[in-house]
């Protein structure tokens, strides 16, 4: 069997790669700046404003224009927009995200409390979803003409189309209300004591909901990608050379087929910090998704900006990681990157 070796990079190639990397970094910086600007602008484009955090509508109605202006100035949303923007940019770069208007605590503190729960919930579900989706996708592609492959395809499409809210409620009714096996809401026990058992108990239903509604996408992508590779010319050549089927799959098909899947998984990890608004709301899970939703509902500008910032940074970083690791998996990308 012919082995293809990757050529050693030349001095010229290294310089080109350096320019390529610098160009990429500049692109990421530009993306980050645009995203930061949007993070500032979008909350303020929403109807209503944070004034509603300062009393019931009936109470706010009694305020004079001067009293309204005084509140807005005191809590930092009364200044002209450009001043607010520059203050915001300055705060971002000094990692001071200000005070949450709804929680009256530093935004960093609020995000810091929610982030671990989201990483646990969404991280666990991404790992299981990836394993399940990719594994079943490979099986679905290899057994595409058999009953098992069709069954997997049908099952994946069904699960992929289930609304998270509906499935979550169904699981609560079944496992919490009927079987009394698992808790209905929250992340820890009723006394707030954090134990591994309680955390795992509270994780099961949300993770199952995310996994069941999420693996179909990866399944379909993996299956489609592998099917494309299996019918490609190099694989046909390998067949013609008499390479055993299992070896063809392992050496010639899986690696190229999983490259786009790798990108998809990296992007999913990027969005990990967004949490899952629906699942965290249904299960009253104290993660970033629910926090972001609450911040949007309350028009809590500093908290919204903070949550969006974490999401932006994660997405940009994971895209960079995907870009950086892609050449390691695909020699063609290494050569392409040098050119």
């Amino acid at each position: 069997m012919v082995q293809t070796e990757t050529p050693a990079p030349t001095e010229r190639g290294r310089r080109s790669y350096g320019r390529y990397t610098a160009g990429r970094l500049a692109q990421y910086a530009a993306v980050l700046f645009i995203a930061l600007t949007l993070n500032f602008a979008l909350p303020r484009a929403l109807p209503g404003g944070p004034l509603k955090l300062f009393g019931s509508p009936e109470a706010l109605a009694q305020l004079t224009a001067e009293e309204r202006a005084q509140i807005a100035n005191q809590y930092g949303f009364g200044q002209p927009l450009h001043e607010q923007f520059f203050t915001y940019l300055g705060n971002v770069f000094s990692l001071d995200l200000g005070m949450s208007l709804s929680q009256r605590r530093p935004v960093m503190e609020v995000l810091g409390e929610a982030l671990p729960w989201t990483l646990l919930l969404v991280g666990t579900s991404i790992v299981i979803t990836a394993l399940l989706g990719v594994t079943l996708g490979v099986i679905g592609a290899l057994r595409r003409r058999k009953g098992k492959g069709s069954g997997l395809l049908g099952g994946a499409i069904v699960f992929d189309s289930l609304p998270q809210f509906w499935l979550g409620m169904l699981l609560i009714v079944l496992f919490s209300v009927q079987l009394r096996m698992l808790p209905t809401f929250g992340a820890v026990g009723p006394d707030g004591v954090v134990t591994i058992g309680a955390v795992a108990q509270h994780l099961v239903l949300p993770v199952t909901t995310l996994t069941l509604t999420g693996f179909g996408y990866l399944f379909l992508y993996t299956r489609s990608s592998l099917l494309t590779v299996l019918t490609s010319e190099p694989v046909q050549h390998a067949h013609a050379r008499g390479v055993p089927y299992r070896q063809i799959v392992r050496r010639h098909a899986l690696r190229p087929a999983l490259l786009p899947v790798h990108t998809i998984i990296m992007m999913e990890i990027g969005f990990l910090a967004a949490g899952s608004i629906v699942v965290e709301t249904v299960f009253a899970y104290p993660g970033l998704g629910r926090l972001t939703f609450n911040a949007i509902s309350a028009r809590d500008y500093p908290l919204m900006q903070g949550a969006f910032l974490v999401l932006t940074v994660m997405v940009v970083v994971m895209n960079a990681v995907a870009d950086a690791t892609y050449p390691l998996l695909d020699p063609r990308a290494r050569a392409g990157g040098a050119r």
């Binding site: 209503g48 099986i139 096996m181 209905t184 299960f283």
Partner: protein
């Protein structure tokens, strides 16, 4: 082996996670009604679910009127409290007045703050001044009607700018007393922490976690009664369906969400679940933008109102769990005496009225008024299932008389921005018709009702329909300056008559108050008008 391995790994992984989490434990999850803790009408611990975080539970930081104010009122006391139809003294021993302008309030002795310091008249003076300086906050009070406040020994005297017979109910009962020694250093009230959630009330705030909730512990030194529950845990569960599921499993013992009419029978059939019911004074209305043609004409508004069957709305939308709207706005059981006004529904009369206005049906059956088809937009809050359904029925009812309605469903903030931008009626409005509603306190004092329709922005800060009518304004002036309750009630009756004639909005219905609780844990829930079931009387044996 190759064929089985991936599936086996995936199945084993899920199974392992499930088993690890369940721990092979087939016993029910925690807090299953806490059997054994209950004695008749008392409990060691009760868990209450709310829908969103209420911040640090001070009078300036809670986020909502209900249940936020209710929780604050478990920690803080006011000088008087509402009980049934009347007013009972609380931190004040009694309320003395001869002219409804000067109120003398001798204070109860032996009352202490949660930190052990004594409650004094100084705290009352400080509270009034502090509310005057800081009007932001859901439980914050507009004390501007108080001209001056003074103290002599343990007796406080409040002098109003004008006589107000509703002052004890409208203001004193809502004004939580603040400890001067803790609050005098607070300049940004919205940033007050839990260390400022120190009152004289029956419960102390002992823990707070924004994502999990609160723990309130009984105040053994409470001067006005004895708490019947030792610990009240408050958990935050945003989703209504999850709250009710947790109630069924026993993880939650009382939900602050209204039981939807469709689920009421199902709850009543559950052996461990009880329902506490009472009159809700929150109203649901059809608001007309009276500044926009053709809703600027009372004849048009009245004709449209005649086409709408409020009894059918209650029957179909609320499954009978509500009261049809009174054309004069006031609920029959409100402390303000409601006038018995005949229902407006008369579809044939509506057609006659529209004919008389010259609104003849066009080719498509839609009437044309002043050269324009009678086709209007109706805004409705997307989060309210009963209002969405009511809007659909209203559309059908108006279609019967030749008026087309296009329903636009919006989130609450977007709708508020059109109907009540920045909660300031001076900023105008941009809608034809909208589903709307007012919370219970609006129905509890006649002064508040006047605010719904007075044309002057200062007198009518709740006039979201932009209504302007000289006769109504005159009655509002009479009502708000009436020195006695009798005169005020008489003016309120006149106002109701005018509302029924002018129809600046149509009162559609008042939902019944129905809340579910675990009766195997605690069954002492008592209804209080305007405060529903989560109140001091539910959790404390009050000795007033």
């Amino acid at each position: 082996m190759y064929r089985r391995t991936p599936r086996s790994i995936a199945a084993a992984g899920l199974l392992a996670l499930t088993l690890a989490a369940c721990g092979g434990n087939t016993a029910p999850v925690q807090n299953q009604g806490a059997p054994g803790q209950k004695t008749a009408g008392t409990a060691a611990s009760v868990t209450i679910s709310i829908s969103s975080d209420e911040s640090t539970l001070t009078p300036f930081t809670n986020q909502t009127g209900y249940p936020g104010d209710n929780l604050v009122n478990l920690i803080f006391d006011s000088l008087v409290t509402v009980q049934g139809d009347g007013i009972k003294p609380l931190l004040a021993k009694e309320v003395q007045t001869t002219d409804n302008k000067v109120y003398t309030l001798p204070l109860r002795s032996g009352v202490t703050w949660h930190d052990g310091k004594p409650f004094t008249a100084e705290d009352v003076l400080f509270s009034v001044d502090y509310y005057r300086e800081h009007m932001e906050g859901d439980s914050a009070i507009d004390v501007r009607p108080i001209e001056k406040v003074s103290a002599e020994g343990d007796t406080v005297t409040m002098t109003l700018k004008a006589p107000d017979p509703e002052f004890p109910r409208r203001l004193l009962a809502d004004m939580a007393m603040l400890p001067k020694h803790l609050w005098e250093s607070v300049t940004k009230v919205k940033e007050a922490g839990t260390d400022k959630a120190v009152g004289t009330g029956p419960f102390k705030l002992t823990t707070y976690d924004p994502s999990r909730g609160y723990t309130l512990t009984a105040n053994a030194a409470y001067a006005m009664g004895k708490p019947k529950v030792q610990t009240v845990k408050v958990v935050v569960i945003p989703e209504e369906a999850t709250q009710f599921a947790a109630l069924r499993t026993g993880e939650v013992h009382m939900s602050t969400r209204l039981v939807p009419p469709q689920q009421l029978q199902s709850f009543k059939q559950q052996p461990n679940i009880g329902i506490v019911e009472g009159t809700e004074f929150a109203s649901t209305l059809l608001a007309f933008n009276t500044g926009r043609a053709p809703f600027d004409k009372a004849e048009v508004r009245r004709a449209l109102a005649k086409a709408i069957d409020v009894n059918d709305l209650v029957k179909t939308v609320l499954l009978g769990q509500g009261t049809p709207g009174n054309p004069g706005f006031i609920h029959a059981k409100s402390p303000i005496k409601a006038d018995e006004l005949p229902p407006l529904f008369d579809p044939e009369g509506a057609k006659r009225d529209l004919d008389a206005l010259g609104a003849a049906p066009g080719a498509d059956g839609i009437r044309v008024l002043s050269g324009k088809p009678m086709s209007y937009e109706l805004l409705v809050q997307s989060s309210s299932t009963d209002r969405l359904r009511a809007a659909e029925l209203i559309r059908d009812m108006l279609k019967n008389v030749g008026v087309a309605v296009k329903i636009t469903s919006l989130d609450s903030d977007s709708l508020d921005a059109k109907v009540w931008p920045d909660y300031d009626v001076a900023q105008g409005r941009n809608y034809d018709m909208s589903m709307w509603g007012w919370s219970a306190p609006t129905m509890l004092s006649s002064g508040m009702i006047a605010q719904l329709v007075a044309s002057d922005h200062k007198d009518g800060p709740l006039n979201v329909v932009g209504f302007k009518n000289d006769a109504v304004d005159a009655v509002v002036k009479t009502l708000t300056s009436a020195p006695t309750m009798e005169e005020r009630s008489e003016a309120a009756k006149q106002l109701q008559k005018l509302l029924a004639e002018q129809v600046p909005f149509l009162t559609l219905y008042y939902r019944n108050g129905t809340y579910a609780f675990r009766k195997d844990t605690y069954d002492g829930w008592a209804w209080q008008d305007g405060a529903a079931a989560l109140n001091k009387f539910s959790l404390v044996d009050m000795a007033l």
